[in-house]
Symmetry: C2
Subunit: 335 residues, 2 copies
Amino acid sequence: MSETNFDAAEFRRALGSFATGVTIITTRSADGAPVGLTVNSFNSVSLNPPLVLWSLATSSLSLPAFQSSPNWAVHVLAADQHGLSGRFAKRGEDKFSGLDTEAGIDGVPLLRGCMARFQCRTAFQYEGGDHVIFIGEVRAFDRNDAAPLVFHGGRYAHATLRDPPEVQPRSAHLEGSFGDHFLGYQLGRSHFRFLAQIRRYLTDAHLSDEDFYVLSALTLKPGLSTADLDAGMAGILDESGHRAVESLLQRGLVRRGAGSDAELELTDSGRDSALRVIGAAKAVEEQVLQRLGPGEAPVLKSLLARLLNVIDPAANALWQEKNLDAGAPAAARMR
Amino acid sequence: MSETNFDAAEFRRALGSFATGVTIITTRSADGAPVGLTVNSFNSVSLNPPLVLWSLATSSLSLPAFQSSPNWAVHVLAADQHGLSGRFAKRGEDKFSGLDTEAGIDGVPLLRGCMARFQCRTAFQYEGGDHVIFIGEVRAFDRNDAAPLVFHGGRYAHATLRDPPEVQPRSAHLEGSFGDHFLGYQLGRSHFRFLAQIRRYLTDAHLSDEDFYVLSALTLKPGLSTADLDAGMAGILDESGHRAVESLLQRGLVRRGAGSDAELELTDSGRDSALRVIGAAKAVEEQVLQRLGPGEAPVLKSLLARLLNVIDPAANALWQEKNLDAGAPAAARMR
């Protein structure tokens, strides 16, 4: 316990270890102007009577409005509302400009698209050091299912449901086998399961898995050499991958560029084939992701992106850089 | 806004949409016994003076202890402390039995392994409907880096950092190509990148990728038929997979069982080969996961498990069931 060394930054960091949702609290000032600010000191207090609380700095420019108006509304923000959170966290801007609000009790401006809204009337105001604690009686509320915006450690976070204990991995698998608890196994299975769902589109297009890998890579980066492909594809372009390149060349889906380093690029029909399968893959992906819980798809993607960065940062950087160079013109060409 | 239909369950659900961390708050009763309970109504109030607050039900058996003792400690729980959270959420058990605590200010019991601890003295007690609001002045605190335990929607959740805006996927990739924003692409790349890191162990063991898939599957479920393998492996056992089985049979790593349905099982040397590579894969995996942020590995694994369940629930159930049947004896045999 750091009793002696009690500095404000460290104290703030310690407080920040408690995760919270994010709210915007709105009211009207005495002259009728809409007022709102981002607050994460919200919490529930009482069920009967229904009370909630939050704290406002005594230095806040919004304090007079909340002291003169007994009516205010708490908006619990959804994961996709971080832009709104940022807007209402700044001082003195015209925060409501361009926002589509509704009028709540006593004309309090209500924001749309939130996870929950509580329309309150101040029941008590309490002293809290450099803050005032507002206790509000809830007079009306509504709620939507959505993924929450979370604040932790001074940054925004995602929240995803934990597995209930009964679906935790069984230890019997772990002793020496390569079971569902292992990342390598999960990645392999997910990849092949995903591929299995688009394989009939590949079959229709007379493409093998390797053909598809090569074509996809070329949609990202036209002008790859075989060596580039090898490096970027982490060695999956072994024998059968090289056979795929030869076969794609023979079938006129890929051609060698004019350059001296014999770069590969898609022909028109190769591009058509690739885009047709990629379109199907995207449709499959959308169906799959919709069956995950709300808000979980971006978390999974974000963690996989971080994983990729960690698994092979050097190769990943190389590959990304190439994408960056060619990304915009490639996309333009392909539209 | 559901002004008319204000029922308690729905109100509780609406309040639950605000995510919170989880704390345990401890003190000593008048007779010196340790007292503690799980609380998620904690929040910070003031930096100067340093104040925090939480609410306690007027019906709580712990209320007299907190009213008689001005000293108490708030423990912000880490993701791996959900067991502790459950223990202190129940009524009237001997919650401290077997716990290794330290003595804080005034002998308040302090728990170990938390994200942050705040030792407080009651500054104010305020009325809050069916709860009492305790405002504590923080006299000492400490903090550890860890992933937080989060509560949301009435259940435990994981929190993972959101990507800062600058690393969000670039839209130039998305028009028609199969870029890093796509799950199918991420899964394929992650899988092959992961495999690339263990490929030298495969090479040392003279195993192809397909050999490894088949051997891994057989460590999970001895006695698979080729048809089982085909079904369970989502069609990756195409031509080259069947060649792998033949090659493993020829090299004495796999044999056909005595049964009439010609099931496959590992030989001793096949098992040795598989376990050696799996051991290497686990070591690689541990290194990789350590480079993710704190607490992110279990979230990634949990989301991938859910994804697998969603991608092909029928096949996944079949495969899991087989694992369950054979899991324990297989593991025992392999030790």
